[in-house]
């Protein structure tokens, strides 16, 4: 079997396992997220992802934008609602996204700088 197919099969197996786990344990998370957690745990135990898995995950990752297109086209069903409430929607989407990017990047950069400084000077 090709590497992509083998890796893709494994991703589906973990997704199924995630769905089963969520249903059986009544967890409040989506199945694929549980599948991701299970796969992450398995990969840490194994220390290295098999090549097939890298190929499949990388292949899906490369075309990630494409996968969002069908959901995005759904905007045509909500034209009335979106035009009625265009101001709160647009403001929330644009302002919140800009602020979240700025806050995340500044926090990350600041804490990384602080950590580096603490390591180079040492805590004597």
């Amino acid at each position: 079997m090709s590497e992509f197919l083998t890796g893709f099969t494994w991703l589906l197996v973990f997704q199924c396992a995630g769905e089963v786990l969520v249903r059986l344990a009544g967890l409040p998370i989506p199945g694929p997220v549980a599948g991701m957690a299970l796969l992450f745990a398995a990969l840490l135990l194994r220390r290295q992802a098999p090549d097939a898995m890298k190929v499949a995950a990388g292949g899906l990752g490369q075309h990630l934008s494409l996968l969002f297109v069908p959901a995005g086209v759904g905007v045509m069903m909500y034209v009335a609602q979106v035009t009625d409430e265009w101001l709160p929607i647009l403001a929330a989407l644009v302002v919140s996204t800009v602020l979240a990017i700025a806050a995340t990047a500044l926090t990350f950069a600041w804490l990384a700088r602080r950590q580096r400084r603490a390591q180079t000077h040492g805590p004597q």
């Binding site: 998370i29 991701m36 898995m53 934008s65 969002f68 709160p88 979240a100 926090t107 950069a109 804490l111």
Partner: protein, 243 residues
Amino acid sequence: MSAQPFFELWVYLAATPLAGLTLTLVAYAVAWRCYVRSGMHPAANPVLISVGLIVAVLWASGTRYQTYFDGAQFVHFLLGPAVVGLAVPLAREWGSVRKLALPIAGALVVGSVVALVTTVGLARALGATPATLLSLAPKSVTAPIAMGIAQRIGGVPALAAVFAVTTGVIGAALGKYVLDACRVRDWRARGFALGMAAHGIGTARAFQVNVEAGTYASLAFALHGFIAAVLFPLGYALLVRSA
């Protein structure tokens, strides 16, 4: 020659999943070409162009979204395995992630709180209806997870997906300018911020600019999706119970 055979052919094509699937891939191929031709300019986002092209075609041909989605669902379905696959970069980078645990945890908490509070606060202050508000709340989380969250807290899953995709496009388009204005030059911080606020679409953009930025974007994208999926329904349940 009459137009009848063409009409029958169109009726046949429109009724099979083939048309929706083909339309999605062709539109994306065209959008990708535009994006590359523009020198990968952030405003020429391939998702934005694809959605615009497809909506125009569906509108002009009078095709319903449901008919289109019968075909496009095969592409949409792949979001599930793509989310599972996020474990691969996460596990690969685990060594360096552990060393940067403090910046990652801090940025994760600050970013998710800012994204949620400003979204709900602004939408509420400007008079959004409860259905819109609850569908907007998980907008910075990737579409499949946002749909699951919206369903659990009483929003509209399909609308939450639309908001999540729009957020991704906005983040991917504006990210560069916001990060330049903040004078953040560290590729890890830049990537992490894009994945955090603009999930998969921001991650795709980050990978196109710099590999290290892309890796940290996928890390943020996975972590944010995971903690949001766990904390949103719990927080909402607490809120409802205390109200």
